[in-house]
Structure formats: structure tokens, C-alpha cells
């Protein structure tokens, strides 16, 4: 993936649960394009109308707590979100996001350092985050080499597929 992700921040407070990221009443949808239409609908009904490819989600603690529904990660990926930066994440959502190749970046105090619409520059490999609007520089927890390889391949399935091809297996 691109080493530096630049995007405009959409900010959210603590404990944005999976029902706010993707309401349960839409769980009968499976096509990512359809799923994308309801991204963040429970937290910000205007989100899908204003979000642009490469924009970033910045949140306080426990982002994605709640359900295991992978729709919550699919909807953000399909909506074009470049990275999710949060003080902390719910376990299953975090895992789902990484599996799908979305950089879910743990950065303590990120929420208090970013306002809606700030332009951020995120170095995924080093964990350095520059708020270009305010000039503030933050340091996120860097990813392990393995997680970086998942992100570089656009998700765990592509990574494994590539590894199997290298081994001559299908």
C-alpha cells in the first residue's frame, strides 16, 4: 500500500459501536457497493454523502466495539476510507479491518489532537501522523512486519493467495 496516506478527517467520539458503523437492519446486504451506502449511518447520516476516497476516520477509544459483523469493516473499505485512527479499537472489528487490508491504527490521544476536516498525513510504516492543518505531530503504535505485509497486499486473502502462488500451489 502507499506509504503515506493523506486525507481529510471525519471525527467520532468514544465507543462507536458496530451498529452505528453499520446498522443491523442492513445485514441482509452482501454486495460491497450496497453495503457502502450505509457506512457510519448510525453515527452520522450525512457521512456517505460527504466522504471521499482516501478520507480518514479519527475516533476516540473502543472504535468498533460490539458485533462481529464484517460488514462494519467492508462498508468503510468500500466507502473508500484510507485509514482508521483511534485511541483504541474493539477486538473483532480491529481484526476484521486488518484482514481486509484497512490500516486500523492505534494512536493514543489522536481524537483530542484532530478536529473535523483536518488534513492528516499518515505514514503507515513508521506510525508518524502529521496534522497538516494544525502542525501537530503524533506517533502511533507501529504495525508488526506481518501486519504490514497484510496491509501491503490489500488484505490477508491476497497475501495468502500470493504466498501459495509462490509455492506453486493453488
Amino acid at each position: 500500500m502507499e506509504k503515506i496516506i493523506k486525507g481529510k478527517a471525519f471525527v467520532f467520539d468514544a465507543n462507536i459501536d458496530t451498529d452505528q458503523i453499520y446498522p443491523g437492519r442492513f445485514l441482509d446486504l452482501t454486495d460491497p457497493e450496497d453495503v457502502a451506502k450505509h457506512a457510519m449511518e448510525g453515527a452520522d447520516p450525512n457521512f456517505v454523502r460527504t466522504v471521499k476516497k482516501g478520507d480518514l476516520i479519527v475516533a476516540s477509544t473502543n472504535f468498533g466495539c460490539g458485533s462481529s459483523r464484517e460488514h462494519a469493516a467492508v462498508t468503510l473499505k468500500a466507502a473508500g476510507i484510507g485509514a482508521i485512527l483511534a485511541d483504541s479499537f474493539g477486538r473483532i472489528f480491529y481484526r476484521n479491518a486488518i484482514n481486509l487490508g484497512i490500516p486500523a491504527i492505534v494512536c493514543p490521544d489522536i481524537r483530542s489532537s484532530v478536529s473535523k476536516g483536518d488534513l492528516l498525513s499518515v505514514n503507515v510504516a513508521s506510525g508518524e501522523i502529521i496534522n497538516e492543518t494544525t502542525g501537530a505531530i503524533l506517533k502511533a503504535q507501529p504495525f508488526s512486519p506481518y501486519v504490514m505485509s497484510i496491509l501491503d497486499n490489500g488484505g490477508i486473502k491476497s497475501l495468502v493467495k500470493g504466498q501459495l502462488q509462490e509455492q506453486g500451489l493453488k
Binding site: N15, D17, T18, D19, Q20, P23, G24, R25, L27, D28, L29, T30, G42, T61, N62, C65, G66, S67, S68, R69, E70, A73, S88, F89, G90, R91, I92, R95, N96, N99, L100, S144, P145, Y146, G155, I156, K157, K170
Partner: protein, 431 residues
């Protein structure tokens, strides 16, 4: 070295440790339902890998929207049914024999002490009540589980919760877990296993222990866990009696999973329950919990008794003991949804269904429907529901709806009063 129950399960199920802190585990049981599994199935088919690791260790149910409410949910069921037939998976529970996943799978005896269990459902932590490591996973991890029978996890840290004292009248396991979540907060157990100990837990039935473990995830927990003991053994005995010489031998085997004296806990929490009141949530987070006396009088539109948290026989009995001979308040509606077909059948046979019907309850078939706002009891904007389910998230039971989480006892007396009420002020009838 002294180990926790989860550490012992990780050690015995370890397949690989690709890098420090992450372990790939062999999975004993992969559970499936029609919301998260069809996406995995479609992907496996598309990738030419339509295989399952072991037909005997995959258990399948249709529960979330049951029966299907429209052609889209019917398609989700169809994908699951076709897959079950294709792979000859024998443990499949379709409508008419089904139940809410975390109620029906234990009822069939599928979960044993020391097991590793995954499912594409966050309340999979329920099964830790049997002394298993049971965790909810996303569809991608589920897909790997279906194909290879493995799943990777971070090394588990464990929080020990000691529940001691005497459980007061009118206070049940739902109240205990709401109190625990209030104490730990909604993120206090993230990436941790929560072990439940203490005299109170020892005295709880398996059904009550499942309620306790069911909501571990609402504090962020990966799995809730109880030590498998005589109560676990009595529940499982019909399924395992052929595997052991006698009950004593089985119990000795169970005890091997117990956390060792001196094992390392990330945190220890002590709660004395003796002066506890029934608990009720007030906001959109499961840790926003108050005593029932502070919440009494809150008007409600709907009462819902059911779900993987509180739709078991014990829950229906408790609720019925308050409802018997009474009518629900005018202008409220009440729904009771027995969690499995077997529970429905028993409740019919012992007169509990009639008690609810006579009181004016709507009795539905087993389904998760209303709890996650998909079917069978969704709220309109501005409506309030007194519910025995597990999540009060904003919009969970329908856009603009408010959910107050509570025990079946509080829900039952709330139905009678039309506003949140205190079960300790009501007489219980014999069932």
C-alpha cells in the same frame, strides 16, 4: 508454571506460533448462522475452495431472521442450506427445529470443557460457561476456520471477577453481569478473557452461567469463562456419559482445565452481591447501568423477553412466575421468544406459554430478530423497549429506538406495570 484456563487451552490447541504473542489454534467446534456464514461460503466457492475441514465439527443453525422475512433473507438461508446439503453436515437446525445459536448449541451438548470454539457472532463468548475458550470472529476468520479448522489469537490475558456474598431475592445472573460491565466499563476487558469465580458463580445453574458469559463481550472480553464443575457435569452428562467410567472420572478430567493457584491475572475484581439491587441500563452503552429503584417509573412501549442472553427455560420460568394470573398494562405490547424449539415445547407442556398468552403476551418462534433490529419486534423511532437482550446500542432494535437492558424478572413486572418496575415489590407465583 501456574496457568489460567485460557492459557491451558491455548497450550493444548497450539498449532503454530508465527511470531511472538500470536498463536494459531486448532479449533474444536466451528459454529455457523445465516448472517455471517453465507458471505464466507460464497467466497470459498468463488475461490474454488468449497471445502470444510470436518463435517462433524461444523454446527449450523438458521436463527437471525427465522422464518425469512423477505427474499433477501430467504437467499441467506438458501445459501446456508445448499452448503449444508453439499457437504453433508449433519448438525443443521432449520426452522421448526432451530433456536438462537448460543442457546441451541449448548442444548445439544456440542460444547465441552477445554474446547476451542469460534463463530461469526460476537456473543460466542457464551460458551465459555462450559470452561471453553469461545470467541466471536469476523467472516474472514470464520472462512479460514471452516476451511482449515484453525484460527489465530493474541496470547490471552485474563481478568478474574470474584462474585461473593448471598444473591438477594429478585437479583439474577443478568443483574450480576450488568454490574460487572458497569465495573469494568465497555472497554475494560478488551482482548481479555473474563473468568467468573466465587460462591455466587458456584451456585449458578448452567443457564445462569451462560447469561453471565454471554455479555463478556459487552466489556470488550474475548470470552467469558466459568470453571467446569459438578453443575457443568450434570448438564453435560446425558451427552458424555459414554466417554467416562463414572461422574467422578469426568469431574477429575474437567478440573484439569481449572486455572491454577498462583496463575497470572491482568486484574482481579471483587464484587459482594449481598446488597445488590436488580440492574437496568439507561443509555446507549451496556456499562450505563443503574439500580432499578433509580429507573423505576420509566415508561415503555414494548417488553421483549428472549435472545441468546435470556430466552432459556429458567428465564421463561422466572418471568412467568411474576406474570401468572396477571395482565400486561394497557397500551404496552409484550413479546416472549423462547430461545429454542425445545424450550418452546417444554414451556408449552408445563403451562408457561399459556401464562404468557393469558397475560396478553405475543409468543414468537425462536429467533434473534428483534435484538439486532432485523425482524419480529423492531421499534419505531422514539419508542422504548424493556428488554432482556444484550445490547442497548443506539438504533440497535430499530432506528431511533431506546433499549433498557434488564433481567427477565424486571421485564416481567415492567410488562404488568407498563413502566420499569422493581420485581422485589411483586409476589412470585409457583410455576
Amino acid at each position: 508454571m501456574a496457568m489460567t484456563l485460557a492459557e491451558k487451552i491455548f497450550k493444548t490447541h497450539l498449532k503454530d506460533e508465527p511470531f511472538p504473542g500470536t498463536k494459531v489454534l486448532n479449533i474444536d467446534v466451528v459454529l455457523c448462522h445465516e448472517i455471517t456464514t453465507p458471505i464466507a461460503i460464497n467466497d470459498l466457492v468463488a475461490r474454488g475452495k468449497d471445502r470444510v475441514f470436518d463435517t462433524n465439527r461444523i454446527k449450523v443453525v438458521i436463527d437471525h431472521v427465522s422464518p425469512a422475512k423477505d427474499s433477501q433473507t430467504a437467499l441467506q438461508g438458501k445459501i446456508l442450506r445448499d452448503w449444508v446439503r453439499r457437504h453433508k453436515i449433519k448438525d443443521f437446525f432449520d426452522i421448526g427445529q432451530n433456536g438462537v445459536c448460543h442457546s441451541i448449541f449448548p442444548e445439544k451438548g456440542f460444547i465441552r470443557p477445554g474446547n476451542t470454539v469460534i463463530m461469526g457472532d460476537s456473543h460466542t463468548c457464551t460458551h465459555g460457561a462450559f470452561g471453553a475458550f469461545a470467541a466471536g470472529v469476523g467472516t474472514t476468520d470464520l472462512e479460514v476456520g471452516i476451511l482449515k479448522g484453525v484460527c489465530s489469537f493474541r496470547d490471552p490475558e485474563t481478568i478474574r471477577v470474584n462474585l461473593n456474598g448471598r444473591l438477594p431475592e429478585g437479583v439474577y445472573s443478568k443483574d450480576l453481569i450488568l454490574k460487572v460491565i458497569k465495573t469494568l466499563t465497555v472497554k475494560g476487558a478488551t482482548d481479555c478473557v473474563i473468568e467468573f469465580h466465587g460462591d455466587v458463580v458456584k451456585g449458578l445453574s448452567m443457564e445462569s452461567r451462560m447469561t453471565l458469559c454471554n455479555m463478556a463481550v459487552e466489556a470488550g472480553g474475548t470470552s467469558g469463562v466459568c470453571m467446569p464443575d459438578e453443575v457443568t457435569l450434570d448438564y453435560l452428562w446425558p451427552f458424555i456419559s459414554g466417554d467416562y467410567k463414572d461422574k467422578k472420572a469426568a469431574l477429575e478430567e474437567f478440573k484439569k482445565w481449572w486455572s491454577d493457584e498462583g496463575c497470572k491475572y491482568a486484574k482481579v475484581v471483587d464484587i459482594d452481591v449481598s446488597d445488590m439491587e436488580p440492574q437496568v441500563t439507561f443509555g446507549y452503552k451496556p456499562d450505563q447501568v443503574k439500580n432499578v429503584t433509580e429507573m423505576a417509573g420509566t415508561l415503555v412501549d414494548q417488553i421483549y423477553i428472549g435472545s441468546c442472553t435470556n430466552g432459556r427455560m429458567e428465564d421463561l420460568k422466572i418471568a412467568a412466575s411474576y406474570v401468572k394470573g396477571k395482565k400486561i398494562a394497557p397500551l404496552v405490547r409484550a413479546i416472549v421468544s423462547p430461545a429454542t424449539t425445545e424450550i418452546f415445547r417444554q414451556a408449552e407442556a408445563n403451562g408457561i406459554i399459556k401464562i404468557f398468552l393469558d397475560a396478553g403476551f405475543c409468543v414468537t418462534n425462536p429467533t434473534c430478530g428483534a435484538c439486532l433490529g432485523m425482524s419480529n419486534g423492531v421499534l419505531a423511532e422514539g419508542e422504548v423497549c424493556a428488554s432482556t437482550t444484550n445490547r442497548n446500542f443506539n438504533g440497535r432494535m430499530g432506528k431511533g429506538g431506546m433499549v433498557h437492558l434488564m433481567s427477565p424478572a424486571v421485564a416481567a413486572v415492567t410488562a404488568i406495570e407498563g413502566k420499569i418496575a422493581d420485581p422485589r415489590k411483586f409476589r412470585k407465583e409457583a410455576i
